[in-house]
């Protein structure tokens, strides 16, 4: 059994007087210790909501969560708030996108790290401070003794993200969820943070769920990749397989639309036409159908089922034949 098993996770937001909105629609994936699983998609595809649902951080009012999230055999969705509080920070660590808004601006970094240690490991403050210093050192913050006393605004973006990772790792959680951990950072700092996370996964055997919109980050870091579109996993495969042979038209189109550093000069980009606003609901057919170059009539009438194709999960009526170039140039 895997460390984390997410089965058929569905999150529906219901506001009074409005149609219910299915932000996450039957997402399933497993994470093993020492493995990195990526959730990729554009904004609004439900990747962050998935992570918040796993962590039990969604507001109770107006949110309906169904499915199971079993961690070590325990369904996290069934735990009480108190039980969940005991697990967050101890078993489950989370790193958020924007380190400035997820750190407390009026509490020194040191106290924010020791807080976790005192709460979950019952360490006395003094001992916790020494541990905190080691942690900051481990995530590569220079002069940790001084940094412990400083406030978040005194640190640079990269250092803040490191501090956040130190907090998330303080209790050696078996599972770490990173929600766009490098999106707010510059590329050279991003490279530092990614190599740090890679090291941590290797050294501590942490299971990592990496949420990002950047396919480049996924290509270098994740073992298994889940591509999300409008709340559903449309394609899931090991990274080499996925990037070498994308079968879903969305994955295929996404890869053709990003400029690559190693592309030949003069190569044209092939954008995906339209925008997420053109989607149709999954209940009616395939949400991607209005933007899809491969769409058939059946795509607009029947929801595609998830099919297992030799280690690849695919949700598509008319997948891309391997080796086809990107779809025709769409008129701008």
């Amino acid at each position: 059994m895997a460390l984390l098993e997410v089965r058929d996770l569905t999150v529906v937001f219901q506001r009074r007087g409005e149609e219910p909105f299915r932000a996450v629609d039957g997402v399933s994936f497993d994470v093993e210790p020492g493995q990195t699983v990526g959730l990729v998609g554009e904004s609004g595809c439900g990747k962050s909501v998935t992570s918040l649902a796993i962590m039990g951080l969604l507001p109770k009012r107006g949110t309906k969560i169904s499915g199971t999230v079993s961690y070590d055999g325990v369904d996290l969705l069934k735990l009480s708030d108190k039980e969940m509080r005991d697990r967050r920070g101890r078993d489950l660590g989370m790193v958020f996108q924007d380190p400035l808004s997820s750190l407390n601006p009026v509490v020194p970094i040191g106290l924010q790290v020791t807080e976790v240690l005192e709460r979950h490991r019952g360490m006395p403050r003094k001992e916790a401070m020494t541990e905190a210093k080691d942690l900051l050192d481990k995530v590569g913050i220079p002069d940790p003794n001084r940094r412990l006393k400083e406030y978040p605004h005194q640190l640079s973006g990269g250092m803040r993200q490191r501090a956040l990772i130190a907090i998330a790792l303080a209790c050696r959680p078996k599972l770490l969820i990173a929600d766009e951990p490098t999106t707010a950072l510059d590329v050279t700092i991003q490279a530092q943070i990614l190599s740090l996370m890679k090291e941590l996964v290797q050294d501590l055997g942490t299971a990592l769920v990496m949420i990002t919109h950047d396919l480049g980050v996924v290509a270098g870091l994740c073992d298994e990749v889940n591509v999300l579109y409008a709340g559903k996993v449309v394609e899931k495969a090991m990274r080499h397989k996925l990037f070498a042979e994308p079968r879903h038209p969305y994955t295929h189109g996404l890869l053709a639309s990003i400029p690559r550093l190693d592309a030949a000069p003069g190569e044209k980009l092939t954008p995906i036409k339209g925008s997420v606003a053109d989607n149709i609901p999954w209940a009616q057919g395939c949400a991607f159908a209005p933007r899809c170059p491969n769409a058939l009539d059946v795509c607009r009438t029947e929801t595609p089922a998830e099919e297992d194709q030799l280690g690849r999960l695919l949700r598509c009526h008319n997948p891309v034949v391997p080796g086809t170039p990107a779809a025709e140039e769409v008129p701008v």
């Binding site: 554009e42 510059d186 991003q190 950047d214 290509a219 070498a244 400029p259 000069p265 925008s275």
Partner: protein, 367 residues
């Protein structure tokens, strides 16, 4: 017609850091742009890349005189743009237009698309009667791929990609020679980014535009630019054609930057060698002496690097680099070494030797 459209000479933009309530004492400067020379040829796309805080946006804004440069000048089509005043300046501005990063905050939410597009035409007396204007507006919308029904709508009714198209249409309306695009695609989703990038390329072909594209994403810049300038802490460190820059980066910073950008291909990613830079960008208010990059440079040498600021010099035809040891690094004579990250202060960068005098806030002044 001269080949060079824009020439920037020793451009400097220093922002004063002020403290105190009553006297606005200047306690230091942020050296946002500190001596940049560059030339943009007619019809080409010049890409300016660098990380946040390197001064690329400030340089772009200073060229348009949205920020007054502290020193240096920009010559536009043979005329000294920096010396223009009043009506001459206003008239000249028609020929240089800008596309901003965030399309929602750069479009007035209470103006319809028609009003946004007509405003510029009126200001420059290009509004010659109802019929010709409405024809012109339709042409503009068609050029950027929006339906003509868009005219009556307001910015909030559009998606991010469509808003950016409106921003581009606004810039096009005045038939400019130069368009400065500051992070034109970074606020957009990946699948939409490509649409806007392709649109910019098509418009360039169609109208013979010259672009200055400012972006942090080197992959995007490499894709659309003919020549690329890499900035670090207020100065250009390397300038080359986009192929040369990628094939043979000469400056240590460019090498690190290129190696840091993830490529969406696991095979490439597994084989790539990463040059990880230690630490953060130093504060532009207190830049390092000598070469600005020496504090993080893995190829740093004992002499010259920390004392003498390297000038941008042409190493090969069309390939300029600001590094004392570029030749030796290229030939492998100098090998990279480990760099310890140094502490970067995030206070607003006032150098410690300037005493802070005067009250820092109103409450302090009154107590």
């Amino acid at each position: 017609m001269s080949e060079t459209l824009v020439s920037v000479q020793d451009m400097k933009v220093h922002f004063p850091i002020k403290r105190g309530v009553f006297f606005d004492k200047t306690v230091g400067h942020v050296y946002a742009v500190d001596g940049v020379d560059l030339e943009i040829k007619r019809g080409e796309t010049y890409g300016l890349v660098g990380e946040s805080g390197c001064g690329k946006s400030t340089l772009g804004r200073a060229m348009l005189r949205l920020n007054e440069p502290t020193a240096g000048k920009m010559v536009f089509d043979g005329q000294d743009f920096s010396a223009l005043k009043g009506e001459d300046l206003r008239k000249m501005r028609r020929r240089i237009q800008m596309v901003f990063q965030d399309p929602l905050s750069s479009l007035d939410p209470r103006q319809s698309v028609e009003s946004i597009l007509v405003e510029g035409l009126r200001a420059h007396d290009l509004d010659k009667g109802k019929e010709s204007t409405s024809k012109r507006l339709r042409e503009l919308l068609a050029a950027v791929g929006l339906p003509s029904t868009a005219l009556r709508k307001y910015p909030h009714e559009f998606s991010g990609g469509q808003r950016q198209r409106i921003g581009i249409a606004r810039a096009l309306a005045l038939e400019p020679d130069l368009i400065v695009a500051d992070e034109p695609v970074s606020a957009l989703d990946v699948s939409v980014q490509a649409q806007v990038v392709n649109l910019l390329e098509e418009l360039q072909e169609q109208f013979g535009l010259t672009y200055l594209v400012i972006a942090h994403d080197l992959a995007v810049v490499k894709h659309i630019s003919d020549r690329v300038g890499v900035m670090y802490l207020g100065g250009l460190v390397e300038e080359a054609t986009s192929e040369d820059l990628y094939a043979e980066p000469l400056h240590p910073y460019t090498r690190a930057l290129l190696s840091a950008i993830p490529v969406p291909d696991p095979v490439v990613e597994d084989r790539r060698e990463r040059i990880l830079l230690a630490g953060d960008l130093p504060s532009p208010a207190n830049p390092p002496s000598g070469c600005r990059f020496h504090t993080r440079c893995p190829w740093r040498q004992a002499s010259r690097c920390d004392t003498e600021r390297p000038a941008l010099r042409e190493l090969k035809p069309g390939h300029k680099v600001a590094c004392h040891y570029a030749e030796q690094i290229m030939s492998g004579e100098i090998q990279p070494h480990e760099v310890k990250p140094i502490l970067i202060e995030e206070d607003d960068g006032i150098s410690p030797d300037v005493p802070l005098v005067g009250p820092a806030s109103v409450t302090e002044a009154l107590s």
